[in-house]
Symmetry: C2
Subunit: 189 residues, 2 copies
DNA sequence: GTCTATACGGCGATAGAC
DNA sequence: GTCTATCGCCGTATAGAC
């Protein structure tokens, strides 16, 4: 049973429950129960509940996200094409972690008070800084912000459309590219 | 002091704390403390914590939201101009309740399990149904969904821009109109 | 190294005194 | 209309079994 993969099994159950029911409504007792252990056992593998949720971000999105930022820093995206490259890379990065992105989007108030939430926010703001000009017209800033949020939320909405995850990811990317393109050309000035 | 307006004073403090710290992290003891009473006193004015948050939505956005839906049902928005009218009316409606919209957006996981959350979700879905065609291309459905979310989130983001609340509301409405216009013309087909 | 038993203060909620 | 007292569940912490 517990062949050194207990930590991984805790993470799997936690991510599932966190995404379904939210961070606060998911108790450690619930997580432990689904694994057939007591909640005290979780404290051997993770110092706190926050430490558990932090590990999910570290293992699933933090690294890939930093790679996109590193790429952006090197390429200094002043051209539209470079900006669109950032969108494509970020879209691919979050597309592999749909449940966690959903959790992040739907638990912003909770994550705001957690260290990992601040870290994720900082990274998203950094990416946003590469997409939009600080002095751009307000509508253009709205367009770029909306582009990122659209890529996030489309991953777990539009279930009624019957479209698959990859189709939705591509459609969201397409709309995001449009928004950033419009902002780059400065329609809102 | 408590001249029959105690209920209102509880709502004011609750909305402020819910928007700042989130629903779950805000305890009834905190709310009571700021009012100089014990938490048990709150239970005279509101049956439960859920009843308290529900009253905020009922008093601030539920009525105006239903008026927009009623208008939409009467006018059957098949033309682009009618769809844009819905956006403008909805924008005005939520513009008067920025803290509550922020709370709604940042506590989706929590609200999903509350009756009032389901009711709000149903209303937003209804509005979305007037904006987008069920059989439209996936990108067009993404555009319309993004339009509504953009109007929501712009109310409480872009603080670094230094723009005022009304400027941000108008900028978000402008971008939303663009998105719905593009979807109406069926660029994504 | 892995986990159970037990305890603590804070939470939402209720009952009943004033 | 507001209080005290109490309840069961929460996250957290630790002692100790194996």
């Amino acid at each position: 049973m517990s062949r050194g993969n207990t930590r991984q099994r805790i993470q799997d159950v936690a991510l599932k429950l966190f995404a379904e029911r939210g961070y606060e409504k998911t108790s450690l007792r619930e997580i432990a129960e689904q694994l057939g252990v007591t909640k005290a056992a979780l404290y051997y593998h993770f110092k706190t509940k926050e430490d558990l949720v932090t590990s999910l971000f570290e293992d699933l999105v933090l690294g890939p996200c930093d790679e996109v930022i590193a790429w952006a820093r090197v390429h200094r995206p002043t051209t539209l094409e470079a900006k669109l490259q950032i969108l494509r890379r970020y879209s691919a990065c979050i597309g592999n972690a749909t449940p966690l992105v959903r959790f992040m989007h739907e638990n912003q108030a909770t994550l705001r008070e957690l260290s990992i939430g601040e870290q994720m926010k900082k990274r998203i703001f950094t990416l946003l800084g590469f997409l939009k000009d600080q002095d751009a017209a307000l509508t253009d800033q709205v367009r770029c912000t909306s582009a990122l949020f659209t890529m996030h939320s489309t991953l777990f909405t539009l279930d009624s459309s019957g479209a698959g995850p990859e189709d939705k990811r591509r459609a969201a990317l397409e709309v995001a590219e449009e928004l950033v393109t419009a902002a780059h050309h400065g329609d809102g000035a």
